[in-house]
Point group: C2
Chain length 422, copies 2
């Protein structure tokens, strides 16, 4: 059993080790980082049985604790999923390395040549839910972007995550890199998180992934800057000038393709002018797909099979086969509703009117705004950014999908032939 002081000391040591590893890692060649990732992928395949045994123990404990079915499914590994973890490491190895990119370069009348060059952030602390694959993905994305990481996995995935982490560490050692480049906190004691959030000077940024309560705790307690990956209350707005076929297809896809991802739609807004003409076909398609509908008065008056929504429904992320439906007065009504109830993640307008679309795209203050497009495309892979660590709903630093580039900072390199300032 570790005492509070033991944990304090351990976390400080991990912070110091990460900082030292990050200093070296910032200048490591792409090839060496890729070698570590490819070796780790091989080791994960070789150790599939070991990983599955650890995962079976995690599942046993989680089931005994009464974990919900959706959570158990996220925790569960099988041969295919282990192969997925390995090939995801190889995919990250194939992505271009952002470090060292000259983002801009210019000359000044004073004789200075100025370059803005991409550099790693340094040390990234990642606190995540019980998905064993995140251990590999998060560690690999940080490594490829030149950052050392300190990982804190969800307690239910502790054994699986540890086995996967062992493979990452051996991969680092195979490539001649410090094992401190990717560290996993070895205890599930919650005070370790508190210590991590206080490692000012050692940790450069904290990335919390998980439920609202975790993210709120981190945002309140962290003395290190936080890049928050909140979930999303995404809207589809069907405008008066919407094409009915597109409205049906996009709403159905935005809600039902996968209901558990942050880009899934939670609320349908519909212009009062086309409530009668457009809602029935949309509602029918959703009902056939097994979606529960909750509407405002006008919606329920039109379709008696739709349940009445309460005020809470407009602020709820169901992550389930449930959709709230609200009538609004045109695009302005939609913009106002999203400003009041949205989560600045992803919102889409369905319309054939270009001016209305542009108004929505410029006025809605979300990381991703869409025209005639399903909100389920809100994903770093779909954006062409390769793997992502999540979607940022904050405005500082990175917004939207957080891929390799978003895990970097920059520095200015200034060259001259001895210039002094007048």
């Amino acid at each position: 059993m570790m005492t509070e002081q033991d944990i304090k000391d351990m976390m400080l040591d991990m912070g110091k080790a990460a900082k030292a590893a990050a200093g070296a890692l910032a200048n490591v060649a792409t090839e060496q980082k890729n070698q570590a990732l490819i070796a780790a992928a091989r080791l994960i395949r070789q150790n599939q049985d070991k990983i599955l045994i650890a995962n079976a123990k995690d599942m046993e404990i989680a089931t005994a604790r009464g974990l919900a079915g959706a959570m158990l499914d996220r925790l569960l590994l099988d041969g295919n999923r282990v192969e997925g973890i390995a090939s995801s490491l190889e995919a990250i190895a194939k992505l271009p390395d952002p470090i060292g990119d000259v983002m801009a370069q210019w000359d000044r009348p004073s004789g200075l040549n100025i370059s803005r060059v991409r550099v790693p952030l340094g040390v990234i602390g990642i606190i995540y839910e019980s998905r064993p694959n995140v251990t590999a993905d998060a560690g690999a994305l940080c490594l490829k972007s030149g950052n050392a990481s300190i990982l804190r996995c969800g307690s239910e995935s502790a054994l699986s995550s540890r086995t996967i982490h062992d493979c990452l560490v051996k991969g680092l050692e195979d490539a001649g890199l410090s094992p401190d480049c990717i560290q996993l906190i070895p205890t599930q004691d919650r005070s370790a998180v508190g210590e991590l959030l206080g490692l000012v000077g050692y940790v450069d940024i904290i990335v919390p992934r998980g439920g609202k309560s975790l993210i709120e705790r981190v945002q309140n307690d962290s003395r290190v800057p936080v890049m928050a990956h909140l979930d999303g209350i995404c809207h589809v707005y069907v405008d008066a000038d919407a094409d009915l076929e597109k409205a049906v297809a996009i709403t159905l896809n935005a809600k039902m393709r996968r209901t558990g991802i942050c880009g899934a739609a939670e609320t349908l807004l519909i212009d009062e002018k086309v409530l009668n003409s457009h809602l029935p076909a949309i509602a029918d398609a959703l009902k056939v797909a097994g979606c529960e509908l909750r509407g405002d008065k006008a919606v329920c008056a039109l379709d008696g099979a739709i349940l009445p929504a309460t005020e809470d429904d407009w602020n709820t992320e169901y992550l389930d086969s449930i959709l709230s439906i609200k009538t609004v007065a045109g695009v302005d009504g939609a913009i106002d509703h999203i400003a009041a109830h949205g989560s600045h993640h992803t919102d889409s307008i369905i319309t054939e009117n270009a001016a209305t679309a542009e108004k929505f795209l410029s006025r809605v203050d979300s990381a991703i705004v869409m025209h005639n497009t399903s909100t389920q495309f809100a994903d770093g892979g779909e954006f062409g950014m390769g793997a992502e660590i999540g979607i940022s709903t904050g405005k500082m630093h990175a917004r939207g999908p957080v891929g390799l580039e978003q895990l970097t900072s920059y520095k200015y390199q200034v060259r001259s032939d001895g210039k002094t300032r007048a």
Copy 2:
């Protein structure tokens, strides 16, 4: 006298008003923002007498309080300085507007067209020292970059700042913009700062400018993200392959051009191989210019007129005519010293050896790294970025000079013809 509750209520009202103003301001045309700035410049010229009377009262109170001479000089206004404030507003009006810039645009095989478009951050809270001109500069930079601002001036400049703020507000009204686009906290009660730091959901970012104690307080207490503008412990490293003439000119300029700015050099590092050959000329030039020198043992052994440095000297930002001098073992020694004692601001190497220069430029983890260039060039104006609100030494969001672009975020606009995700 305002009670704690009065201040709480007032700050919440200011936050709400700022958020509403920011929502509208995000979509205001460049021309209208410029009109407000130009009108404010005119009003500042027209009200010069009023501003000078207010400043005279501020000076009287500050003198009675025993404010230091350097602080009094920062507070003092005269006709020239008021004209400087007005023309600085006009200069900001002339800078290109970053908002709406399409930073990148690409098509995806899925049929999506993705644009990354620059948007304002929203509401910026700025806490600054007693320099009346910052009221105008900070408010104007935020306005031009589409952000609403809540300003908190240093208490000694309260009357001058209020008079200048009146001109900004009238300028906004002249241009048909909400006066809430630039608000000045009307009380100097310190609890107002505490309330500002807690306005989550209303304020998007806090920019503290001032001494270390203020910045540390803000970083500890703020629940809103902070972009810190710390002062700088800047180094000049004279390498074994340095050209002596450049070494003398750059060291002299980096230290003595202006000693009170954050880009002024505080420590000279010199390769032990050229201590005997290079230090005497550098030291002589500095002494003639009136600079006090403090050196390590080897330095003092070479020149008996140089005072011995203590450990504290390597961590001290003098902002004065004092320079610490340390002998190091080559570029690696310099890199190590800067890692241990630097402040990640600006550091410069003097060398004719290109490989050594590249090593220094890539290894030193500072916002600005320089080769054969004076650290006094660390300035947004000198970088060609127009006006700046300060130099960020953090790695999140903006690093280095913070101009208009650095006060923005972006959103992704996604367009397709009805695409759903497979």
